[in-house]
Structure formats: C-alpha cells, structure tokens
Symmetry: C2
C-alpha cells in the first residue's frame, strides 16, 4: 500500500501471518499425516507441520496452495480452512498469527523426491512425534474436524484414488473413526447415495475373488456434497 497510514491504522502492531497445513493421506491401510523436519530456527530440525508465511500480495488460500505445491508437487488438492491461531507467544521468535488449513491428498500421487529438501515423512497419526509450537493442537483439531465433517459429508473420497473399492472405502472410514463398521450396512449406505459408479474392473490385490472398482459420480458428488449423508452410525459417540 502506498498511501500514508491513517491515525487509526498507524498505531497498530503489525504481525507476521503464516499458514500451516495438516496434510492427510491414506495408503489403503492407515490414515497418515505428512510432517517435515523444520529447516530453520527457531526449533530447527524438529518435526513440524508444513507451513510458510503469507506473502505481501498473496491471499491466504493461495499461500496454502503454494506451500502444498512446494511440498508435494501437487496442485488441485482438497484444502479447507481449519482455524486461526493467534496466541501471542505461540511462536517464540516473533508474533505470528497462523491460519491452519487441512488438506487431503491421494497418497499415491505424492512425489517423495520432490520434498527431499523438507525431509518430509508420513506418520501414522497415533505414532506422530512431538511437534513444534502449537502444531500438535492443530493436528488434534484437524482430526476432530475431519471426523465431524466426514460423518455428514462425502469428504473422505478426496483421500482415495479415482478408482477404489468399497472395502477400501470402508477401511478408510474405520481408520478415521477407529471403529468397526458392519459391511452390509455400509455398502447399503454408500450405494444408496448414488455417488458411486461401478466399474467392470476388479482389484485383485486384496483378495482372490477381487473387489469391483468404483469411481465417483462427479456431478452427484458436487450436488450432494452439502447434504447430510449420515455415513457413520451413532456419530455422536465417535466425535469426542
């Protein structure tokens, strides 16, 4: 801005604004998050969420997208603003307000080599290390938000490849909610949404019989995304 600051503005304290991303991935077995080894002080070499400062003329979501691209080489990642953290001492070095985003990526699209400079690693959520600043709290809130949202909306499809099987999908829900789901009821629910298109092809990697692949009906997915779908039985009990 090249205008002179007005009185009301002039007295204010400017702060750094950062974004951090909680990146979730699913490898078919476990739900994971992507962490990096921080390359600079403070807290150099400690595990951390991937983040970065918001640039001068940069929008918040654009900053998150940029940071994700730097880390994963992926664009068009599912990205949602989680919450903004502004506790004055959260970053011991400078007053930094942090807008946290969570992201879902198809873990198989992740290009490990691209992120060598960050020493990025996937962790099972329960086995994740201690993180810097308030990042553990962010991860916890992101998990809660994901559980909340996925109980009502078909958000978890963003974690799967384009072709997936229903057992894979069920396993993903079971991971997210750390619970067992009855497969007959689950299949009935997901198919009754009309969101899935059955393919001829089968995935034989998981069993001898093989499981049919499905893909998302993109149009219906977009149309129904805001509907309450109720994938999870008794969700109340699982949201703690």
């Amino acid at each position: 801005m090249n205008k002179p600051l007005l009185n009301k503005y002039a007295d204010q304290t400017a702060m750094l604004v950062a974004i951090d991303c909680i990146v979730f991935g699913f490898d078919g077995e476990n739900l994971k998050i992507l962490l990096i080894k921080r390359g600079f002080e403070p807290a150099k070499d400690q595990w951390s969420l991937m983040g970065g400062f918001v640039g001068k003329g940069e929008d918040l979501e654009a900053a998150a997208g940029r940071v994700l691209f730097e880390l994963t080489g992926l664009n068009n990642v599912y990205l949602e603003q989680l919450k903004t953290y502004g506790e004055p001492l959260r970053d011991p070095y400078a007053r930094t307000v942090c807008v946290a985003y969570f992201a879902f990526i198809d873990i198989k699209k992740y290009q490990n080599q691209l992120s060598d400079e960050y020493h990025a690693e996937w962790f099972q959520i329960d086995e994740a290390p201690q993180l810097i600043f308030d990042h553990n709290e962010m991860v916890e809130e992101a998990r809660k938000r994901v559980r909340y949202k996925a109980a009502l909306h078909p958000i978890l499809f963003e974690l799967l490849p384009q072709k997936f099987t229903i057992p894979q999908l069920q396993n993903l829900y079971e991971q997210v909610y750390a619970t067992r789901i009855d497969n007959r009821n689950f299949i009935r629910k997901v198919t009754s949404t009309g969101l899935l298109i059955k393919l001829q092809e089968k995935d034989k990697s998981g069993s001898k019989r093989g499981a049919f692949y499905f893909k998302l009906d993109k149009k219906k997915y977009k149309a129904k995304f805001q509907s309450f779908l109720n994938f999870i039985p008794n969700p109340d009990q699982l949201l703690g």
Copy 2:
C-alpha cells in the same frame, strides 16, 4: 519480541491483524444483526461490522471479546471463530488479515446507551445496508454457518433469555431457517432432548392463555452440545 529476527523471519511482510464480529440478536420476533457506523477513515460513516485490531500481546479471541464488550457492555458472550479473510486488497488502506467471529447475545441485555459512540443499530438481516469491504460476505457466511450448526446443535438457546417459552423458541428456529415448523413435532423434539426444565410461571404477553416458561438444564446442555440433535426437518434443503 526483543530477540533479533532470524533470516527466515526477517524477509517477511508484517501485516495488520483485525477481528470483526457478526453479532446476532433475537428480539422475540426477528433475527437481527448489530452494525455500527464506522467512525474513521477509510469508509468513515459507512455501515460496518464491529471490529478492531488485535493488540500487541493480545490473543485473537480476547480481542473479539474486548471489542464486544466495548460495543455492548456484555461479557461472557457466546463467541465462535467463523473464518479468516485475507484477500490482499480487502482493506484498501493497509494489508489487513481479518479473523471473523460470530456472537450471539440476548438482545434484551444489550445496553444501547453504551454504544452511542459507535452509532450501533440492530438490523433485520434482510434489511441490512451495504457494508464496507468484505463484510457483507462475512455476514452471509455467518448466516450459513449458524443455519448449519443450529440444525445439529442447540446453539440458538444462546440467543434467548434465561426464561423462554417454546413458542418463542420455535419462532426463533423459524426465523433462522425462514421456514414454518409443525409445532407438535417441534415440541416433541425439544422436550425429548431433556434439555428443558419447565417452570411454573407463564408468559402472558403473547396470548391470553399464556405459555409456560422453560429454562435450560445447563448440565445437560453442556453434555449434549456436541451431539447431533436434528431439530430441523430435512435440513439439507434449507442450508443453501
């Protein structure tokens, strides 16, 4: 912070951080929002949300609470972080990242005289004027969020006085969703939650017969706040 900035930090652009509050109130008839006439440039004398800059050692939520207190004279207001807005040009005067909160207050507790310096006024939402910057967008998103959340959680009680009648409560839901609700089904739902304690006293202002007052069972309210309560029939259709 009195340490020297590190390289990684030193190059970054500091920004102003503000909070804005979408303050909802309910007068028994209509759902309203509280707006002020902005007292300083830019956009002096235009209608605006109540807001303020985040102070040097101040937490975000504390800043929102402070601003609300300045405006209404009330403490312990229901306050929830909505979303953070950071479009680079959203404030034409200086790069300002804004953390928006929404608040619910019992409109009768509002002390009009305290806010004379802001020229605050209650507006029916549909009759609200054009607001500065991106504030109209914030109001729209807050309305959506309230509709979403109130369909599942007993949040709207925060808008009512301690004693309220079921017809008042129903009217509030009807205002929020701009819909008519069947009173028999509504009563059954709210009473079956166990959240209400019936008082002996009646409110005779609305009818000759009078309607019994109820109050919240605070313990159950806290315990059940996270449960999915489903107050609204077919909520999908109403959330647009």
